[in-house]
Amino acid sequence: MKHFVIHQSCHSLELERGIFLLGEGSQRHSIHLPSIMCMCSLHNGEGAQKLQEGQWHVTAEGSQPFGFVQEEQIEEDEKTLKAYKEGSLQKQQEMNGHTVVPHSYDYDLIVIGGGSGGLAAAKEAAKYEKKVMVLDFVTPTPLGNSWGLGGTCVNVGCIPKKLMHQAALLGQALQDSRKFGWQFPEEVKHNWMTMTESVQNYVGSLNWGYRVALREKKVTYENAYGEFVGPHTVKATNKRGVEKLYTAERFLIATGERPRYLGIPGDKEYCISSDDLFSLPYCPGKTLVVGASYVALECAGFLAGVGLDVTVMVRSILLRGFDQDMANKIGEYMEEHGINFIREFVPIKVEQIKEGTPGILKVTSKSTKGNEIIEGEYNTVLLAIGRDACTRKIGLDKVGVIINEKTGKIPVNDKEQTNVPYIYAIGDILQDKLELTPVAIQAGRLLVRRLYAGATTKCDYVNVPTTVFTPLEYGACGYTEEAAVEKFGEENIEVYHSHFWPLEWTVPSRDNNKCYAKIICNIQDSERVIGFHVLGPNAGEVTQGFAAAMKCGITKEQLDNTIGIHPVCAEIFTTLTVTKRSGENTLLSGC
C-alpha cells in the first residue's frame, strides 16, 4: 500500500474523481491516482482526510494548496500530520532524497517501445543529457514466441528477413556457379536449423548490443509493458506482473505493430506469422503463405529459395500500394520459379490433421468470386495479411490521445506530435507514413533534436526509397505510375523503361528480359524524375544512390548526361530512351 502525501506547495486546486490538479497557471498538470490510498494534509491543519480506495471525492474549498510527493512510505496518518505541522516532513523527504518540488517528473522522456524508432530517439536524447527511460515489452505470440530488445526490424523483420533472403540467393548462386566452373555433387541440400541458429545468434548479438549501448548512455531500460494511467504517468508491468509507476515531462509512443490474424477457426492455434518464422525450431516444410503483402512475398520467396514447396494464397492483388506494373512482374517471376499461387481465395478454416514439428494442417478456402471451396494440406501455414498498430491497449484514452479508431494508427502533425502536446509518436504506428526502419529512426532523431537541441529540421517523408526483397528484388523511390498519373495526369508524365539482362546471368543462362528499369518524369517540370523503379539483383544498392539524386531534383537530362558504369545493371538508367507512350519494344539485345 503506497501512501502519497499531498501537502501544501501551490495555490489552486481542483478535485474531481481521482484527479488532482496541481500547480498554477501554465504549470498545472493533473495527476490521476487510481487505486492508491491517499492522504491529504490540509494547509491550515484541519486534520487529515483519509480517502478510501476507490473513493475519490474530497471536498475542498477555496484555495487548498496541494503538492505531490511520490511514494512516501508513511505508516500512520497522525504521525504524518504531526510531522507536517512541525515542518519536519519536508526535511525528512529531502533527507530521503525525495524531491519536494511539485513539478518534477521522474524522467524528461519516457519512450514506450524499444524498436528502431524508440531506441534511436532514446539514444539521441541521452546525448543531450536528458533523463530517459525506455520501456520495451514483447507480448508473446499465440504460439508463445518472444524476443529481446530491438523491436521488429532487428528481431522479426528486416534483419532476419534479409539474412534468410541471402540464404536463398546463395542457393541460386550455387547453381549458377557450375557454369562458372565450380564442381560439386549434383544435389546440394539446405539445413533450416543451421541457418536459423546463425541468424538468431546474430540477432542475439544485436539485442545485447542495444542493452550495452543503453546502459553506457545511461538510458534506463525496463523490460516492461508500458501503458498510460493518467496525465504524465505510465504504469510499467514486467513479465512477473510487478507494476511500477513513472512520470515524465514528455512521452514518445513507438510501440509498432504486430501481425494480424484471420479470425477463422484454427488461425491462432495452428498458423504462424513472421513473428514465429525467423526462429522456428524446425523446418517449416510444405508451406502455405496467406497474403500478398511484401512480407508474404518475401517470406514465400526465401522459403522456396531454400528448397521448400511453397504456395501463396492471394485474396486480390499483389503488393497493394506498390506500383502494380512492378508487382505483377514480381509475381510472374515467382510463379515461373516454382512458387504456386492460388488467386482470389481466402482461408476459412484451418484444422490439424497430424501433430508434429511440423505437423500436417488442412486448410479449407473459399473463392472471393463465388462459392467454390478448395482444400489443401500443408506442414505450415504462414499468415502475412497485414499488421496492426499496438495502440489500443496502452491507455491512450486515459490521456486523451486520439487514434484512428478504424486502423489504430495515430495521426500526428509534421512535428510528430499527437493531439496531446507532451505526447509524441513515431514509427509504424503513424497514420499515412511509410512503415520503414530508417523513417522511424530519422523521425525519432530529428524529433529529439528539436525538443532538446533547439533544432528545427522536420522529418522529410518525401521520396523515401524502399526495397522489396523478393526473389527478383524491387527497388523504388517516389511515385508509382498510378499515383503519378493521378497527381499529374497521364499526358504530363513521361515513363521511360527498359528490360535488362545482368551480365552475371548470361553465362548460367538465367532469365533474360525479366529485369526491368523504369523512371517516371514530370514533363512540366523539366522532366524531373519523380518515380524510380528497378527490378533486378541488388535492387536496394542500386536504388539508394538514385534516391539521393532525386532528393537533389535530378532531371532526365541530367540522368542522360551521367555516364554509366560498365558492366553493371544500374547503368541502364543512364541510357533510357524508349517511352511507354511510344509503345516500342523494350527487349534488349546484348552490348
Partner: protein
Amino acid sequence: MGWEEKQVRGYSEFVRTAQHYHGRPIFALFCGDKDAEGKSWCPDCVTAEPVVRKELHNMPDESVFIYCLVGDRAYWKDPNNEFRKNLKLTAVPTLLKYGTPQKLVEEECFKAELVRMLFTED
C-alpha cells in the same frame, strides 16, 4: 550452491572445461598470460580482472566462472589462433556468457555496471 571458479590455460583446456560443465551457466574471462610476478602482458586485462571479480557474486547459482589465460602476446597476435578462429574472440580482455552472443570486450569490462548486467541478464 553458489558458484565456482576454474582456472585454465590455453584453448584445449578451456574447451574441455566448458564442455565438462555443459548445462550450467558458464561465464568466461579471457586474459593474457601472467608473468612470474603474476602480471599480465595485457594492461587492459590487469584493469579488468578486479572489476570482474568484484561482481562475481552476482552470477546466478550453479554458475561456473572460467578464468582463462589465452597465451603469450605473440600467440594472441596471431590472427589464426584458436580463440580468434573458433570462439570468435577479437580482443583481450573478453568477458562472455558461454553459448550466447553476450559479451563485453576491452574497456567494456572496466565498467562494473556492464559486468553486472552480463551476469544477471536473462
